[in-house]
């Protein structure tokens, strides 16, 4: 029997075994464990990713508040710090070791656990089946495993904070030799081993998830949902998954070599090293730069793994709330594709000052600056989508517009940093901190918030509170600029990142008050995120109830499901799709759902 015959003869194979028949209510008995813990429902798994991500966001954010306290008030002592941190804050002042551990863990947690797992884990799981018209992911079981590998990674990372020598403290990029030699610093001992184990588990989680997202998008689209009828969210999440599947394994290889260097006496990354108090090491022939290449081959695509889902959701939310089709749909897909390709070709711009051949550097400058083209296409398409739109300023829409603002502001400084000559001055300064926090960190957080505000009604059948949402938005966007804008000036003045105390440097003393100001704003912004958390959990139980199927008047498929869809999403048949996702304001109609057949007298778009 040929493969084709098999696929056609067994419908259950093309959809997926197990759920094909569950058209309505739950036939199978659901216990608390199968419904909320080891759930195989993509919507529940999405919520698990979201809430775990929120826990990490609070922890990672709190870490930044703690080290901002040190940076803003380098001379002050806070006795309560010793109460909570113990020996890590002797006498009420964070120790240098603790400071570096906080900076490192803040970076690792925010980049991987919040903005990768928390963002694409949440929305790829939640939106892909709902928006392409599938009952669940291709493999719900692997999807469940994906979450639990992430959970295991979280537990290991969390545990590393409680070991005696502390968590890893050599920076989130974990460059050797600091990460390869246990004698290099307290954090490089068991803390680093746990960091590596946690990250290895994370890679497995990301791989299981990514394979599922790809297979679902390609294979499980409902009838009529051709690739060019998909909402841009799905395109973005699809490219994100491809990026993850192809870049994380390289990081994994790099980590395996690092594990051998740490524990089995190899010299992959080590050569000619002398440690104070230990003496000369026997390792010879390795290259620390090799690790940087392997790391940034993931590291740069990782930036887009974080950013693309936000871009996709923002495109969707801007279009829905402008009541206009997205401007340049095919250009949006093309630019996503261009970004996904370029993401693999620019990694060495993180390494301009490592001794990279200047000629090679100039090629990476060119490829890096090329990213400005698809990025600009996206920005102008968002702006033209807003242009003369009938804009509804919902909290989700506010955050989506905020994303565009932040992406422009942060993207422009990327053009500076992409130049290898300018980078000699700017590398490892606060200018870099400001750049990537705005363009990748805060912008993607805004995309995530936009997504949460917009799809919360679909997740929980209730709305988030709008007033709290607006307060959350305005304080966060004002705060984001007040925190990171001044950092550009500090960076231009040459202030290096990762220093413990700038007040002892003659050239940076001038920034003492500015640093205090940044720290103050950081604390206010953190407090407002707690308001959002309150809003989130309060609204799950007490929020205003959703009473109509399609509260935003959107065209996409998720709004054709019941207000609180069960496992299987649609009661009865999965709807068929007849048009693209952006028929807003067409032929005098406010919007036309994707499920509406094309009428005989309808105009072409």
């Amino acid at each position: 029997m040929s493969n084709e015959a098999v696929v056609h003869a067994h419908g259950a194979v093309t959809t997926h075994e197990g759920h094909g028949d569950h058209h309505h209510e739950h036939h199978h008995h659901e216990t608390f464990i199968t419904k909320y813990v080891f759930s195989q429902d993509h919507k529940m798994i999405a919520k698990q990713f979201l809430i775990t991500g929120m826990v990490w966001a609070v922890l990672g954010g709190l870490m930044s508040v703690l080290f901002r306290l040190q940076l803003g008030y380098p001379d002050a002592t806070f006795p309560w710090l010793e109460d909570i941190l113990g020996k890590w804050a002797k006498g009420g002042r964070i120790t240098p070791e603790a400071y570096y551990a906080l900076v490192t863990t803040h970076g690792t947690v925010l980049v991987f656990f919040v903005l990768t797992a928390g963002l694409s884990g949440t929305f790829a799981n939640f939106l892909i089946p709902l928006q392409v018209g599938a009952r669940d992911m291709a493999s719900p079981f692997m999807n469940m495993l994906s979450y639990w590998f992430f959970f295991a990674a979280s537990i290991v990372m969390l545990s590393s904070m409680f070991v005696e020598t502390g968590p890893f403290s050599g920076g989130w990029t974990a460059y050797p030799p600091l990460s390869a030699l246990g004698d290099a610093s307290p954090g490089s001992k068991i803390g680093m081993d746990m960091w590596l184990i946690s990250m290895a588990l994370f890679v497995v989680s990301s791989l299981l998830g990514g394979l599922n997202y790809i297979a679902t998008v390609l294979n499980m689209r409902t009838k009529g949902m051709s690739m060019t009828r998909m909402p841009l969210t799905i395109w973005a999440l699809f490219f994100t998954a491809v990026l993850g599947v192809l870049s994380f394994p390289v990081l994994f290889s790099g980590f395996i070599l690092l594990i051998f260097d740490r524990n089995f006496g190899t010299s992959f990354y080590l050569s000619d090293i002398f440690i104070n108090g230990v003496g000369a090491l026997p390792n010879e022939g390795g290259s620390a730069i090799l690790y940087q290449h392997l790391f940034w081959f993931l590291g740069h695509p990782e930036v887009y793994i974080i950013l693309l889902p936000a871009m996709g959701m923002v495109s969707e939310i801007l279009s829905v709330n402008s009541r206009k089709p997205i401007f340049g749909y095919m250009a949006m897909i093309g630019s996503l594709f261009a970004i996904a390709i370029l993401a693999f070709l620019v990694w060495a711009h993180h390494m301009f000052v490592t001794g990279l051949n200047p000629f090679l550097g100039s090629i990476f400058v060119l490829l890096t600056l090329l990213i400005a083209v698809p990025s600009a296409i996206k920005v102008f398409n968002w702006l033209t989508t807003l242009w003369r739109g009938n804009i509804r300023f919902t909290p989700g829409m506010m955050f989506a517009i905020g994303f565009v603002s932040l992406f422009i502001s942060g993207g422009l400084t990327g053009i500076w940093l992409g130049n290898s000559a300018l980078d000699i001055h700017l590398h490892d300064t606060y200018f870099v901190i400001a750049h990537f926090h705005i363009v990748m960190g805060v912008a993607s957080m805004f995309g995530m918030f936009a997504g949460i505000y917009h799809w919360f009604p679909k997740m929980y059948g209730r709305y988030l509170n709008n007033t709290m949402g607006y307060i959350h938005f305005w304080v966060t966007i004002a705060g984001a600029y007040l925190i990171f804008w001044p950092m550009h000036y500090e960076g231009l003045a040459g202030m290096p990142r990762r220093y413990y105390d700038y007040s002892i440097w003659e050239s940076f003393k001038q920034f003492a008050e500015l640093n205090r100001f940044i720290s103050t704003v950081a604390m206010i912004v953190f407090a407002v995120q707690l308001l959002f958390l309150f809003n989130f959990f309060y609204s799950i139980f007490k929020g205003r109830k959703v009473t109509t199927l399609n509260p935003w008047g959107a065209t996409t498929l998720e709004w054709t499901t019941p207000i609180k869809p069960g496992h299987g999403n649609w009661v009865g048949e999965i709807p068929e799709v007849h048009r693209w996702a952006y028929d807003y304001g067409k032929d005098g109609k406010e919007f036309i759902a994707q499920t509406t057949p094309v009428g005989a007298d309808e105009s072409h778009h």
Partner: protein
């Protein structure tokens, strides 16, 4: 068949069906293999980077010249590893036969060829275990390299570091493949695939097995030939 294909090409990507006419598991396997190719690619490129930045490297004809039960001092360069490679490639042939038998719903053929594939995989692993033990007895291990460079100068440990890491990682893949094949064999014997009406799982296991073989060709070239 040709006519039905042309009739459906226009709608291949139209939704409601798989554009490649494969079920999701095989799609995932292909993407997984791409991902795994990047893992091995990263290893081998790292190896190349370090090797080209090092002044000298041991001569594989000198390092890999022994044979089990052969008299001391016998010179049989690359003979043993060629036999290993041959075994692995033959196991790919038997895997193809198993997949083919699966297409024909020939349970006996699947069982027979899966058993041969498993034996081939185990034989390869056995050979690798012997080679590793032999090298270990000569003093080679992670972090220690008894061999001199081809030009007689002292060699860095990265020759053995990479050799054991990458062949070990490949061996681990072969080991996983053997386990997968054993599971497939048990499932075949329990008539799981007869009940499903297709042997698609065998095909997916076959993809993995061929991939592992293909990777060995590159590993073999990088460590034994150049």
């Amino acid at each position: 068949m040709a006519t039905t294909t042309t009739a459906t090409t226009t709608k291949l990507w139209g939704g409601g069906k798989s554009p490649f006419n494969v079920e999701y598991g095989k799609l995932m396997m292909w993407y997984f293999l791409m991902s795994d190719a990047f893992t091995f690619g990263a290893f081998l490129i790292s190896y190349g980077t370090i090797r080209f930045s090092t002044n000298g490297w041991p001569d594989p004809n000198e390092v890999f010249k022994s044979f089990p039960f052969a008299p001391e001092g016998m010179n049989a360069p690359l003979v043993f590893v060629s036999i290993m490679t041959f075994i692995l490639i033959i196991s790919s042939v038997t895997m193809v036969l198993a997949v083919h038998a699966g297409h024909n719903m020939d349970k006996k053929g699947v069982v027979k060829n899966l058993i041969w594939t498993i034996i081939g995989g185990l034989a390869f692993l056995g050979c690798q275990a012997w080679e590793w033990t032999h090298l270990h007895h000569e003093g080679a291990w992670w972090g220690s390299n008894p061999f001199l460079n081809a030009d007689g100068t002292a060699s860095s440990t990265n020759f053995t570091n990479y050799f054991f890491t990458i062949t070990g990682f490949h061996g681990f893949h072969v080991f996983s493949g053997v386990i997968i094949n054993i599971v497939m064999l048990i499932m075949t014997l329990m008539d799981k695939f007869e009940q499903r009406g297709h042997y698609l799982m065998i095909e997916k296991a076959g993809l993995y097995w061929h991939f592992v073989d293909l990777v060995w060709v590159f590993v073999f070239t990088c460590f034994y030939l150049v």
